[in-house]
């Protein structure tokens, strides 16, 4: 007991408000390892099911924090960061004995281990009876990462089990709580674009919707602007969601959308692909039977490769291609680069605040329908281009001027990586 008291934090803390009681990050590593301890499998679910549920539980925290979680089945047990196990009554050398079915169904030790009471009826993902092992696992992992209990309705960190439909997600406040400990997700993007969906409603009227996509390496996110977060369960692998385009490191996406034209192109290296929105796959060949991918120099004469990025400017019906510090304005109707181009980026898109400019090698030029503005991404910051609305409010602003840079993660939230081993879950 004396030993335990040495280990345990001092008594105290604010009983009234259990939400913000001095929590601090528990780990200072970016990638944490975990393992379901071999001699402590549950007797209720198959081992694969248990491991899958835990892998999903860790992934769910990874989707909202800069942390990665990797299942480690081989390293010496002592070096594994988080160990999970099932037990009944007195278990796994733990000083805290489980009470049988009912009441206490699991507990966690900060910086260490998670124990589940195998007398409880833990159920898999598809079940809506019993106690969802996924929900309990996400809760206990929250403790291990440093989050305390809270009585906030909707939080996964409520002390009592709340039976509800099997689908649950980390809500906004839980995300902010864990991000207060580990920071928000940062990182550069290969490209970002809005994808237009055209639908006919029951009256036959065409309706236009759009989704925002962020591409990074071989995975991507759909960003739900109205919910200020990525889609639940993203990122996904590009090759699972987009067919016929390169599976990684896309340079640019351009949507030529004007009266009578609706063409979508992906660019990588010295080639480009055209994408068929209806069939959700890249065209194999054009109307003349010539195959895709094609050389950029053929389809867009005068445009260099490999590109940094590109976007389509609908009012002027120009595609702006970016490479290093240069901009090429391509007239899609005359199929050629304007004579006065290429120009310096700083000339076409001048900085409003001196020296506050990306100058060269931007990652992505993204026209957002949600914000009716163009954004230049570079690393984990963005520059917003002066829009018509901005100029109506302040005519002194330069045409196509760039506002000072800001952090991408403060405008687009929770665009987080997950460990490669869980990417295709």
């Amino acid at each position: 007991k004396r030993f335990l008291q040495m280990l345990l934090p001092k008594a105290g803390g604010q009983h009234e408000d259990a939400t913000d009681t001095g929590t601090s990050r528990a780990f200072s590593k970016k990638t944490l390892t975990w393992r379901l301890v071999g001699e402590a499998y549950s007797s209720q679910l198959s081992v694969d099911e248990q491991r899958y549920i835990f892998r999903l539980a860790f992934r769910m925290w990874s989707e909202v924090t800069p942390l990665d979680f990797r299942e480690d089945l081989t390293a010496p047990g002592a070096t594994v960061d988080i160990k999970l196990g099932f037990g009944r009554g007195r278990h796994l050398g733990c000083p805290r004995v489980f009470d049988g079915s009912g009441q206490e169904f699991a507990h966690a030790w900060r910086l260490g281990d998670i124990h589940f009471d195998d007398d409880e009826h833990f159920t898999p993902l598809s079940s809506d009876t019993g106690i969802s092992l996924l929900k309990v696992a996400v809760h206990e992992i929250g403790h291990v990462l440093g989050l305390p209990h809270t009585y906030r309705v909707g939080s996964i960190m409520q002390p009592n089990y709340i039976p509800q439909d099997p689908v649950f997600e980390l809500d906004w406040s839980d995300r902010k709580a864990i991000q207060r400990l580990y920071g928000s997700c940062e990182g550069s993007f290969d490209t970002a674009f809005d994808w237009i969906h055209k639908e006919k409603n029951q009256y036959g009227e065409v309706r236009v919707r759009f989704n925002t996509y962020f591409f990074r390496n071989s995975w991507y996110w759909l960003y739900e602007n109205r919910n200020n977060r990525t889609r639940y369960g993203d990122p996904l692998q590009i090759l699972t969601g987009w067919h016929g385009i390169p599976p990684q490191n896309i340079d640019a996406f351009v949507h030529v959308w004007s009266r009578g034209r609706d063409e979508r192109y992906f660019f990588k290296g010295n080639q480009y692909w055209r994408y068929d929105s209806e069939k959700d796959q890249a065209y194999m060949e054009d109307e003349q039977g010539r195959g895709y991918p094609k050389l950029i120099s053929e389809g867009f004469p005068g445009v260099p490769s490999s590109l940094d990025t590109a976007f389509y400017e609908r009012r002027q019906q120009l595609i702006y291609f970016f490479k290093e510090s240069l901009v090429f304005a391509f007239d899609v109707n005359r199929n050629q680069v304007l004579n006065s181009y290429p120009k310096k980026m700083t000339q076409v898109f001048p900085a409003i605040m001196p020296q506050n400019h990306p100058f060269r090698n931007i990652d992505s030029a993204y026209y957002s329908y949600a914000h009716n503005s163009i954004f230049f991404f570079k690393g984990n910051v963005y520059w917003k281009v002066v829009s018509d609305k901005d100029r109506r409010q302040s005519s002194r602003l330069p045409f196509n001027g760039l506002f000072p840079k800001k952090s991408i993660s403060e405008k687009w939230f929770d665009v987080c990586d997950v460990h490669m081993s869980t990417l295709n879950m």
Binding site: T79, R110, P159, N160
Partner: protein, 124 residues
Amino acid sequence: ERLFHSRDRSDLEPSPLSRAKPIADLHAAQRFLSRYGWSEVPSVWGTSPQGSAEAPVGSTLAQAMRRFQRANSLPASGKLDSPTLAAMNRPRCGVPDTRLPPQSALSTPPAPIIPYSPRPRSRP
């Protein structure tokens, strides 16, 4: 094997021996309040549910009870009434409600510290 008849084992019966003793009286309630950190008395994670945690007494018990009731959106009477007992008997996590879980008694040695760690990890 524990007894079940449906494929998804949804009717799995816990073995009678290992059912948690319901919290039904003041003594059990005192232990619950102490165990989950609702009493002012330093709560020691007991070595067993029946454990030797010091239970709050007197007005401190009523205060602890009221704190628990308030947190669970129950009338803060300070008395052990049936809604309070029901709240205490709901399935729950074993980590105390009012503070972070203690460090693992089984803890692993500290992992190598990446330079940007704000503070050194304490050794077990």
